[in-house]
């Protein structure tokens, strides 16, 4: 979906795309429906979600952290941040990409089925990528791999010809480098 078009029905110069990928960290009150509000905002206003993760991060305060990877023009991304801030139970929205130097990690579980040479090759590549074997049968492995999304993409692509049958990814969790909290 064209993020510019989502901004306004009038401003969609054909073919013009200057889309950027941004990672937003959203601290929310962990109350019922808060995730639906965030997701509903993205669908209702035509924004993209590439990845979304959510989990409670402070039990006593009942705060959850939602990490959203989205794409759009810089103006659209700024608008997304402001629209998120309007949601009443949202504490804070931080654009980690703007802050720079954020670390992104994702966990994937990759099931590969095969025998013979391809099975050996899958295991060898798994070792090269520092993937852990968390389940094995005589004709399959499940690898667990943590890393930046690109690294997981690379590994998954290598596994395809070797018998990839199933893939489960968590989506991106991200945090800014350095001593300061968001």
């Amino acid at each position: 979906m064209n993020a510019i078009a989502a901004l306004s029905p009038y401003s969609s110069p054909a073919g013009k795309t200057n889309n950027e990928r941004h990672t937003l960290s959203v601290l929310v009150d962990n109350e019922p429906g808060v995730l639906a509000r965030v997701v509903g905002l993205f669908s209702g206003r035509g924004y993209n979600i590439e990845s979304l993760t959510v989990a409670e991060v402070a039990h006593v305060e009942r705060w959850s952290r939602i990490t959203i990877v989205t794409t759009g023009s810089p103006e659209a991304i700024e608008q997304i941040s402001h629209q998120l801030e309007r949601i009443v139970p949202i504490h804070k929205v931080t654009d980690l990409t703007v802050r720079g130097r954020a670390i992104e990690r994702e966990l994937a579980m990759i099931k590969v089925r095969g025998r013979g040479e391809s099975r050996v090759e899958a295991l060898r590549l798994g070792e090269a990528f520092k993937a852990k074997v968390i389940d094995a049968t005589l004709e399959s492995f499940i690898f667990e791999l943590t890393g930046a999304p690109d690294k997981i993409d690379d590994f998954v692509n290598l596994m395809r010809p070797l018998g990839l049958v199933e893939l489960s990814r968590t989506g991106v969790a991200a945090i800014a480098r350095g001593p300061d909290a968001v």
Binding site: L7, S8, Y10, S11, D29, G33, A36, G40
Partner: protein, 590 residues
């Protein structure tokens, strides 16, 4: 002091604590305990509407005319879904509402119980915030938090979905001293450095214009006063959106009239040609901007808004100031005075000369008639005959709404209630009821169209029951006029389903409701008929039979810029096909 009471009693107690004297609603199975609690007290008056949409619009009219939070109470399922249009309307026009909906008991939620619907799910997108109350312990906090959220920052509608078992449950209630939300605390003060910069930019401007909106009205009467003061200090011209009418008086010498799709020639051209635009509590809506890439191309833009997401949403501005209009205007006035700033008088003089040239085009002129009542003339006469009274105007949506905005002039804020953002036909009558409840002695007129009025005509019963002398002034042209106008301009005059066939006899209809009916189709008799309506001490339906195919001008055709307006004179020029002015891309727009 904490007191033990039922959830239903807490609702009523919280309304009292919030100073709510009037609510609008309709009973049903899932709100019976609250209705029982209402029955046993006298502080809160409940106005029984005839349809829940009416309750929402009535609460909007009440809120818009008083600056208070409007409250409605409806039952679960259809009660809640019927209120949706009104909630959405309030969201788009930033009207503070608290809507309490009944819900099936908590143990039945999700079972597709009778009159169950996922109210918080459905209303998530059309409210500023909503709550499902799962336990009695949460209820006191939520009730007061809802009012806080509805009125703070950019106001909006808040829904409290209240299951029936929670209404029956017993718990401790106390009025919290300090109602705040733990995350939602909007910023009111503008950044002083930015305000200083704004004042510098204003002092340097040669062709400035103020563009004010509904945010000034929402900020309260003080903001309107400050706006007037700043305009007087700077001698800058000022225009306003539909929602902002009344913040600056229409009789003020710097007033350019409304801007936008049906705004005046001088207002739109000033917006297009200005070198500094100062947007105050307005949101660059598409009715205002026209073609975005040709919108005021040569200007620097300052935007003052309490909602950060409004800034740079549609139009990129040079200076965005996040804050409440009233606070920011106060700082601007103070700084302007303190630094003894002066406008560039010579440049401003030339700018006003240019504006006077545009004014001389008299873009609101129309050809009057002795045979038929022109709709513009009807509104003009209505204005002349009621302007010295304590009057409030509501409207439905369509041509009549635009003519009302063009020809009824407002001197004060909170006098003009119209559905701007959502454009809801059927808004005007229930809104008038809400206004009249708040201002029992005022003259409240719903300027309506014959199509719109039928969308919530059932509220005549409400007006009758509560002896509300609202006046419904129907500009009856037997068409959904704005639809017909667009079909004429864009679809070759093929009037698909826009003719109001099988209309009721509005005089008899009024009488059937126990109101007075008046019909007038003669320009010569119009004044007397209007006075008859005004003097009548009860509700009136005035069927003003007007010219059938009058178009609403001036008009910025869709997809065009401010300086490409169609004026009435052009539309009459032989050989100019208005439909041809709008290109294919424009036709796609609304």
């Amino acid at each position: 002091m904490s007191k033990q009471m039922t959830g239903a009693a807490m609702v009523v107690e919280a309304l009292k604590d919030q100073g709510v004297e009037t609510i609008f609603g309709y009973p049903g199975g899932a709100v019976l305990p609250i209705y029982d609690a209402l029955f046993q007290q006298n502080f809160v008056q409940h106005v029984l509407v005839r349809h829940e949409q009416g309750a929402a619009h009535a609460a909007e009219g009440y809120a818009r005319s008083t600056g208070k939070v409007g409250v409605l109470l409806v039952t679960s399922g259809p009660g809640a879904t019927n209120a949706i249009t009104g909630l959405t309307d309030a969201l788009l026009d930033s009207i503070p509402l608290v809507c309490i909906t009944g819900q099936v008991p908590t143990h039945l939620i999700g079972s597709d119980a009778f009159q169950e619907c996922d109210t918080v799910g459905i209303t998530r997108h059309c409210t500023k915030h909503n709550y499902l109350v799962r336990s009695i312990e949460d209820l006191p906090r939520i009730l007061h938090e809802a009012f806080y959220v509805a009125r703070s920052g950019r106001p909006g509608p808040v829904v409290i979905d209240l299951p029936k078992d929670v209404q029956f449950a017993s718990g401790m209630y106390a009025f919290p001293k300090n109602v705040q939300h733990r995350t939602y605390q909007p910023k009111l003060k503008g950044d002083m450095d930015q305000v200083r910069l704004a004042v510098e930019m204003m002092a340097a401007a040669k062709k400035p214009v103020f563009y004010s909106g509904g945010g000034v009205i929402n900020s309260g009467p003080a903001a309107s006063e400050l706006l007037r003061e700043l305009v007087a200090l700077t001698n800058f011209p000022i225009t306003s959106t539909l929602m902002g009418l009344g913040a600056y008086p229409a009789s003020g010498k710097n007033w350019l009239g409304m801007l936008g799709m049906h705004g005046t020639y001088e207002a739109n051209n000033a917006m297009h040609d200005c070198d500094l635009m100062i947007a105050v509590g307005s949101r660059f809506d598409d009715r205002i901007t026209g073609r975005l890439d040709a919108f005021s191309p040569g200007s620097k833009k300052i935007h003052i808004d309490i909602d950060p997401s409004s800034i740079n949403k549609n139009v990129k501005v040079d200076l965005g100031i996040v804050g409440d209009c009233g606070h920011v205007l106060e700082d601007m006035v103070r700084l302007w005075r303190a630094s003894a700033k002066k406008s560039d008088e010579q440049a401003l003089g030339e700018w006003w000369d240019q504006i006077d040239e545009w004014r001389a085009r008299k873009s609101l002129a129309y050809r009057n008639s002795k045979e038929v009542i022109k709709p513009q003339y009807a509104v003009q006469r209505l204005y002349e005959l009621t302007k010295d009274r304590n009057s409030y105007i509501t409207t439905e949506v369509g041509q009549h709404q635009m003519w009302a905005a063009q020809f009824y002039h407002f001197e004060e804020p909170n006098r003009w209630m119209t559905s701007g953002g959502l454009g809801t036909m059927g808004y005007g009558l229930p809104a008038a009821i809400g206004v009249q409840m708040a201002h029992p002695d005022a003259l409240v007129i719903d300027i309506a169209g014959e199509a719109s009025i039928l969308m919530n005509i059932q509220e005549m019963s409400t007006a009758k029951q509560y002896r509300l002398p609202v006046k419904i002034f129907i500009l009856n042209n037997e068409y959904m006029g704005m639809v017909r106008q667009w079909q004429e301009l864009l679809h070759g005059g093929r009037y698909s389903n826009s003719y109001s066939e099988a209309l009721p006899d509005f005089v008899k209809l009024a009488e059937a409701y126990g109101a007075k009916g008046i019909r007038c189709d003669d320009p010569a008799k119009l004044d007397a008929a209007i006075m008859e309506m005004v003097e009548y001490p009860g509700p009136v339906i005035f069927d003003c039979v007007v010219a059938k195919e009058e178009n609403c001008f001036p008009m910025i055709p869709s997809g065009k810029a401010h300086n490409e307006m169609i004026l009435m004179e052009l539309s009459d020029d032989a050989g100019v096909e208005i439909g041809s002015i709008i290109d294919e891309k424009g036709k796609m727009l609304v």
